[in-house]
């Protein structure tokens, strides 16, 4: 199992794409936000209800008593999550803020039954409770640590999981340029094209190299360049960073980049990765 908390989902189009699983502590923040919203809306309901009744209709107020408040409390306590996740496609306001969503373990949207059940069963994930009232969520934490998808008991009983939705901009494939790159690229001719996996590794390096100090670049690029040269049976005194840049440029563009491209790209996107906050 890989260290990354990602799951593969097979769509009906027979395409596999990946979801990032949300960790317990992101979910705790979302839950805290929802808890705040619940408390706030109950308070607002209480104020509006008392205001409306005292201003307009005292008879109705004395007939209904505090019943509407208790019913609102009940509904918010047990059905808030279930109703939102049914009608907001697996999201509550807290999950929306945190960019989380509930989906089935197959990656499909959840049904109303799953939404309600997984929220009702939070009562047991909250155990043990302090003074029978304040949940500590220790059981849910232990259970979700015991499976690869961070599912608490409510998720296991409904076959759901919580995923992180990320929003990314389309990544430009930036041409690179460095002094001496053209010369290195000319010497690449006899070298066979890169395999896909190697190209991915080199792209990952090139797209991050600007964050590194030159010495660190050397530290990372040197062993890889040595291994590649051994594989090609070549003796070549070449800057390892420059070699990887050349391989990257040849693989993704075929032609040497220009100095203009380099200055443009470093001005436009000084740092990699362009990733959402919290990664």
């Amino acid at each position: 199992m890989s260290l990354d908390t990602k799951v593969r989902v097979l769509t009906p189009e027979n395409i596999a794409f990946e979801y990032e699983i949300a960790g317990p502590f992101q979910r705790l923040v979302a839950y805290a936000i929802d808890l705040g919203i619940r408390a706030l809306s109950l308070f607002i309901f209480f104020c509006l209800y008392s205001l409306l009744l005292s201003a307009f209709n005292r008879t109705l107020g004395s007939a209904l008593g505090l019943a509407p408040l208790f019913v609102a409390w009940f509904v918010l306590e047990w059905f808030y999550g279930g109703v939102f996740e049914t009608f907001w496609n697996g999201q509550t306001p807290g999950k929306w803020v945190m960019g989380l969503r509930v989906v089935t373990v197959q990656g499909q949207p959840i049904t109303g039954l799953q939404a309600v059940l997984r929220n009702v069963l939070r009562a047991v994930d909250g155990l043990p409770s302090v003074m029978m009232a304040v949940p500590t969520f220790l059981l849910g934490l232990v259970v979700s640590a015991c499976n690869g998808r961070f599912q608490r008991l409510g998720d296991l009983a409904t076959g759901t999981m919580v995923i992180r939705e990320t929003r990314q901009m389309v990544q430009e494939v930036q041409p690179v340029w460095a002094p001496g790159l053209e010369e290195v690229m000319e010497h690449l001719h006899p070298i066979p094209p890169l395999e896909a996996a190697m190209a991915r590794v080199i792209a990952a390096y090139v797209q991050r190299r600007e964050q590194f100090h030159p010495q660190r670049r050397w530290e990372i690029a040197h062993p890889l360049a040595q291994a590649l040269l051994r594989r090609w049976h070549r003796e070549w005194e070449v800057d390892p960073d420059l070699l990887l840049l050349a391989l990257y440029q040849r693989h993704f563009f075929g032609t040497p980049g220009t100095q203009a491209a380099e200055t443009a790209s470093s001005a436009a996107a000084p740092s990699w990765p362009v990733s959402p906050a919290g990664v």
Binding site: G65, V71, G107, L113, V116, V124, Q168, F252
Partner: protein, 338 residues
């Protein structure tokens, strides 16, 4: 074709899909038919891009972008199925009683609840001092002062108390249900404790002078409320035992199936708790003769028996397929097809 050229060619389609996604997230109903067709076409083409990412030598950053774009569009295309009222009505009126009729967990929960209730009733009735010791003097005093007057209350009190019972008792029911996940017996423990306390209180109160007031209060809502707590424990046991008795499935699959069976049963308990709360609020403390309150209890018990036994009993096998009486299932399905 190298990656840069491929990206150049596809970028337009990707950003168009992104825009459609944003529009769909905001107001899905405002979309024109042509846009929806366009959306699904673009979605399929991006799926193809992702599948061929290696063949086109796309760098990891682009592949990451495609993963999130496909996931986003996928979630918009395959939406959660909304709450279907008719389906739930059929589930509650037909499948739940059938499930409960042959439900071993309901029998166990009922046996535990009523067994402990009767035992502690006898204890409280024959030995009031034992009840005082177990319940505590404070609770005894509270109970006695609470019932030293006949149960009456204004409309304001009745409504407020009905609301309180909805919030409080149904909450206990939900906790009983969820606690069932703890090896199946968590809910049973809560039910057992409640049965002992209730039995002791009932037994003890019947030895005091305020027995009349006490019985007048508890009669009307007892059948509904006691059934509701037993049903919620039974629904929770179904969940918990599904993890232990898997019937050849994996534990997760067994639990999932039990979940979809147990939730409608729990919803029945919610309905019963609501009805019980209304009766407890408006009938039990109303200024009407005791006979009327007893009649409410009898009618609600008969309705429960009808639901659990008449609807719940398995239909006898029809001898002649041409002339059999319609079962409940067929009646409901027929009304469904109109």
């Amino acid at each position: 074709m190298n990656a840069a050229q491929y990206l150049q060619q596809r970028r337009g389609a990707w950003s168009e899909l992104e825009q459609l996604c944003a529009q769909m997230e905001k107001s899905p109903r405002r979309l024109r038919a042509s846009q929806i067709v366009r959306f699904s076409r673009l979605y399929r083409s991006v799926c193809a891009d992702l599948a061929l990412a290696d063949a086109h030598h796309l760098p990891p950053s682009t592949v990451g972008y495609l993963h999130q774009l496909v996931a986003r569009a996928h979630n918009l295309l395959y939406r959660s199925r909304f709450f279907r009222f008719r389906m739930w009505l059929r589930e509650m009126l037909l499948h739940v009683p059938k499930r409960l009729f042959r439900d071993p967990y309901l029998r166990v929960a009922a046996a535990v609840f009523y067994g402990l209730f009767l035992l502690s009733y006898l204890v409280g009735w024959t030995d009031p001092s034992a009840a005082q010791t177990i319940l505590g003097q404070q609770m005894i005093t509270t109970m006695e002062t609470m019932y030293d007057q006949p149960p009456r209350g204004s409309l304001f009190e009745a409504s407020t108390m009905a609301g309180f019972y909805i919030q409080h008792n149904t909450g206990i029911g939900f906790q009983c249900f969820a606690a069932g996940l703890v090896f199946g017996i968590g809910g049973l423990l809560i039910v057992g404790v409640n049965a002992v306390v209730l039995g002791l209180v009932f037994g003890y109160m019947n030895t005091t002078e305020v027995a009349g007031n006490f019985n007048e209060f508890v009669t009307a809502h007892a059948p509904l409320e006691l059934t509701a707590i037993v049903v919620s424990a039974a629904a929770g046991m179904r969940l918990g035992f599904a993890m232990l008795i898997t019937g050849g499935k994996t534990r997760a699959a067994s639990l999932r199936q039990a979940g979809s069976e147990a939730l409608p049963v729990m919803m029945l308990a919610v309905v019963l708790f609501f009805l019980a709360a209304l009766v407890e609020g408006y009938v039990s403390r109303a200024d009407i003769p005791y006979e009327a309150k007893a009649a409410v209890a009898i009618v609600s018990a008969l309705l429960l028996a009808f639901y659990l036994v008449v609807i719940g009993a398995p239909a006898p096998q029809a001898q002649n397929p041409l002339s059999h009486h319609p079962t409940w299932e067929q009646i409901l399905h027929r009304s469904d097809s109109h």
